[in-house]
Amino acid sequence: MKTNNKTRRFVMMSFLGIAGLYASPVFAFKKSDAEKLIKNLTNDVLGAVNEQKSEDIMFSRFEEIFSKYADVPLIARKALGPTWRGASKAQRSAYVSAFRGYMARYYGKRFEEFLGSEIIVSNSRKTSGGFLVGSNIILKDGSSYQAQWHVIDARGKYLMYNLFLEGVSVLSDVRVQIGSMLDKRAGSIDRLIEHLNSKS
């Protein structure tokens, strides 16, 4: 009886273990997948910049790229902080969509200086639940920036979560921005959404 119990437990455990292995996507992704994601992302960004279309066209291209490669809902939530918890479902989705447009414009303006530059992906490392992909942005004038991309496992899919430009976290940066916008509007998420949509 005792042995039987043990055997059963062993069988159960192995089964759970195998199920866990299949369910956990960490095992399925490799460093090269994360690097590929960043290579494609940066290619798309540089492509959009080098097209030299109007700002509106460029910003909407950035919005598509941002949606495709980054975990926008998670980044948006992190940028908002604790206010997220008190928001209704409708407010949350309105905020995420306003945030997406804001990010495309706010960083899009800064991407203009990448016109004609080159990005070399190198020196990546494993982190818990993802990878930190290293890269070097070499501008047209020869000066270079170090950019490190935090790629995470987002519900079975690899997506960009954060970017460090010369050590400065984009997520921290945008938290500061959103935080002060919220403060100026007495913590009202509706007024924040309205402001983000006003494209100022």
Partner: protein, 247 residues
Amino acid sequence: MQKRLKNLINAFLLILIGFVISACSQSAPNEFYDPLEKINRKTHSFNKSLDKLFLRPASKIYGVVVSDFADVLINNFTNNLSEPSNAANHLLQGNLKSSSNSTARFLVNTTVGIGGITDPATRLGLSANENDFGKTLHSWGFNEGAYVELPFYAASTVRDTTGIIVDFVMDPINSIIPSKYKPHTQGAKLIELAGDRNEYGDIIDNMLYRNEDSYASQRLYYLQRRRFDLNNNKISDDDLGNPYEDE
């Protein structure tokens, strides 16, 4: 005037207190220790108006008047002046190799490089490796301490401010270059300041005039950039944070 002096002494005392506190506190990687925020914000608006009135216009003039070629020469010249200080700090950090590298750069660039306006050392494989006394204090185990925004100087920390003062007072270049040339070297550094403001024009304009809270942005950029530099350009696991954690 007396009141101003009193304010100055107060500010100095506060920095000193901050330094003492910094010796026993360690802030987490994504956090800032900013007990002087109220004063810092006032200094920030002062610095911002200085930029608006003087530095920004001067940098625009610099951009028009100074050719790219001359810009490189000015850059080389002022960089070369800081090589003895780099060498001293590398030595204080126990890095003999980098120290002799900086010394060799200074000797080569001052002679072959015509007083430092060109940089043949880099072409000889002696690449630049900047250093300062703030880094030395870091290597000796001193904590960052409180964030401070210095009038006329912008972002710093208590540790880095101490470093700036020590670097300024103890700079070995003072005993190398005769004091009668001091106005010339200081002048070159002032021109270089306008050159730097011009080079990073868009980044600084965005930070100061387009961001929601320029004070908070500047504090973030300075501290994270400096920590990255002190950590040999590595992002630590602590910096990454936990994406899955709810707040």
